[in-house]
């Protein structure tokens, strides 16, 4: 059995909010010069991670199936005069790195995961297996444009971060437990996000042989 106590949780669900409106909403969360250079997903995920107050001893597990879809689209559209900035920000874990580089805060472990139907399970498993005292499990997606037309980007935009630890601490918000149980199942990242956003208890088969329990206090 794998278990983590939730110490903080934050979810941002912009719904149909346009990227420009999201940027306007979040720009005050970052230093002025930094916000201008950040991607929209970087601002969403960065704001969520920032609320978990990352510190050098933490491990960060970042889950995103498609990650920087807009930066990827814009980078490809910059050819043949490829943009070096968009190349850097198009890489998978860029959303987390944008925040942490802005803060000049090193971490031992950054574990960026992609994937599909088992992504939520795999991210939580990776978090529970980390030897770090505290793990920040974060994730998010952004709605693509032309990539979405080819089903190569997310249909919705969201971001979340939860700080968790093996120790319960003084006032844990809840508990995440993975325990062996026969049977098949899957849990995508957006379903995990919805449960976190709503602070809804979850009891489901997250992967073949694995039951996921999330209990809020």
């Amino acid at each position: 059995m794998l278990e983590l106590h939730i110490h903080s949780a934050f979810a941002d669900d912009p719904g149909e909010e346009a990227p420009a409106a999201t940027r306007e909403r979040l720009k005050g969360c970052f230093p002025a010069g930094a916000a201008r250079r950040m991607t929209t997903l970087g601002m969403l995920v960065g704001n969520a991670v920032a609320r978990a107050q990352p510190s050098p001893g933490d491990a960060i597990v970042y889950a995103s199936g498609y990650a920087e879809s807009r930066a990827l689209e814009d980078f490809i559209d910059s050819f043949p005069a490829a943009s070096p900035t968009l190349f850097q920000t198009s890489i998978q874990p860029s959303a987390v790195q944008q925040l942490m580089i802005g803060r000049q805060t090193p971490v031992d472990e950054l574990m960026p995961l992609s994937g599909g139907a088992l992504l939520a399970f795999q991210a939580l498993r990776a978090a529970a297996l980390s030897p770090a005292q505290r793990v920040i499990v974060c994730g998010g997606e952004e709605r693509g444009t032309w990539l979405l037309e080819h089903k190569l980007a997310s249909e919705r935009t969201y971001a979340f971060a939860l700080a968790a630890a093996k120790a319960p601490g003084a006032a844990p918000l809840g508990l995440v437990r993975l325990e062996p149980r026969d049977g098949g199942g899957e849990l995508g990242l957006s379903a995990l996000f919805d449960a976190l956003r709503d602070r809804r208890n979850l009891d489901c088969q997250a992967a073949a042989g694995w039951r996921l329990l999330i209990e809020w206090r």
Partner: protein, 369 residues
């Protein structure tokens, strides 16, 4: 982050580079062969010639079906049979491109066929289906240390008793997307890389690469220990000038290596600042270790480099001969740099290190179990 748990063993391994499989690549590096060739940076759209190492017969432009898919399938034919992706045999698929060349081709040339594998979820699903894997395929991507993450996760599921064996597969194949990106950063240019060499300007080459490793706790000829990661979070494309990021990553590996004589397979892309910092850090952490790098021949195989070069390092240990720093030339960045190959039978183990965007670092030690 150090792994204090029991050593993990390597049951099987393999790699595929433009020079061949692990044994052929090792032999070619010992001869000093260079796989890098000048190729137009944008493939069929032309551009500056830059040093790229492509698999024999493969074009830089994406094809339908992708040639890399066949190369990965061919490599994985050597993976021992098993219920990979099943509940007790998870797969950790790592890389940094995941068919993004197909996305580039889709947008630039308009063929929707490229969309079938052009993002990590679709790419992993399609590859898994081709290889007969079950659903538990974790996809990990942290640029050029991606393979290190896969090895660490694969080790942890074993150490936690969640798996009987674990499979790490890593692959990255070039496209105008990635060549164009590094060219825009100006570190991929007309010059060929000369790792760990003091010269006026730095340059890298890029290469195709794929590799696998099967890990277990209780069998295997080799062991992997002292796995370590560190992320500087200082700058996307630069390291802290004091070398502290390199040092922090190497500390746990050096602790694991205490009392053992090791040689050091570095990242060594051919850039100047990172090369100097790496050589100096290796000298401090492993004072008697000769340092070698192989990207002057293979090019930088990006997210797969940690596993590709681990396979070559294992071949080196098995054969007793370590290739030198291919395409390196004096003066070197330090007295510890070995431009020539050497007999490694007096050494107990090898340390392998990789670095990536964001000041990400990975290191581990391998040797006979």
């Amino acid at each position: 982050m150090a792994e204090p748990a029991a050593p993990v063993r390597i049951v099987a391994y393999g790699c595929s580079t433009p020079l061949g499989d692990a044994a052929a690549t090792h032999a070619a590096l010992l001869r000093g062969d260079r796989a890098l060739r000048p190729v137009p940076v944008l493939g069929r759209e032309g551009g500056d010639p830059v040093p790229l190492a492509l698999m024999p017969g493969r074009l830089l432009d994406e094809e339908d079906p992708p040639a890399w898919m066949a190369a990965v399938k061919s490599l994985c034919a050597a993976v021992p049979a098993g219920d990979w992706g099943g509940p007790r045999r998870p797969v950790f698929l790592t890389g940094s491109n995941f068919g993004v060349g197909g996305v580039y081709a889709l947008r630039r040339f308009g063929s929707a066929a490229f969309a079938r594998w052009g993002a990590p979820p679709a790419c992993a699903e399609r590859l898994g289906a081709e290889l007969g894997w079950g659903p538990d395929v974790s996809v990990l991507s942290l640029a050029c240390v991606s393979a290190h993450l896969g090895l660490l996760q694969a080790s942890r599921v074993l150490q936690a008793g969640l798996a009987d064996e674990s499979l790490v597969v890593s692959f990255d194949f070039l496209s105008p997307f990635v060549a164009g990106g590094f060219h825009a950063l100006k570190i991929l240019n007309a010059e060929f890389p000369s790792p760990y060499s003091e010269r006026p300007t730095g340059a890298i080459g890029l290469g195709d690469g794929a590799a696998f490793a099967v890990l277990s706790l209780d069998r295997g000829e080799f062991a992997i220990e002292g796995q370590s990661l560190f992320n500087e979070m200082h700058h996307f494309t630069a390291n802290r000038q004091d070398g502290s990021g390199f040092a922090r990553c190497l500390e746990p590996t050096a602790r694991a290596a205490r009392g053992r004589r090791v040689w050091f397979k570095g990242h060594g892309t051919g850039t100047l600042e990172a090369g100097r910092l790496e050589v100096a850090s290796a000298a401090r952490a492993f004072p008697s270790a000769p340092v070698v790098g192989w990207k002057g021949s293979l090019g930088h195989t990006l997210g797969s480099c940690g596993l590709v070069e681990m396979a070559v390092a294992l071949e080196s240990i098995r054969s007793g001969r370590t290739p030198g720093t291919v395409a390196g030339a004096p003066p070197s960045m330090g007295a510890n740099v070995s431009m020539q190959g050497f007999d490694n039978r007096g050494y107990d183990a090898a340390v392998c290190a990789s670095n990536a965007f964001g000041g990400a670092h990975g290191a581990f030690m391998i040797g006979h179990a």
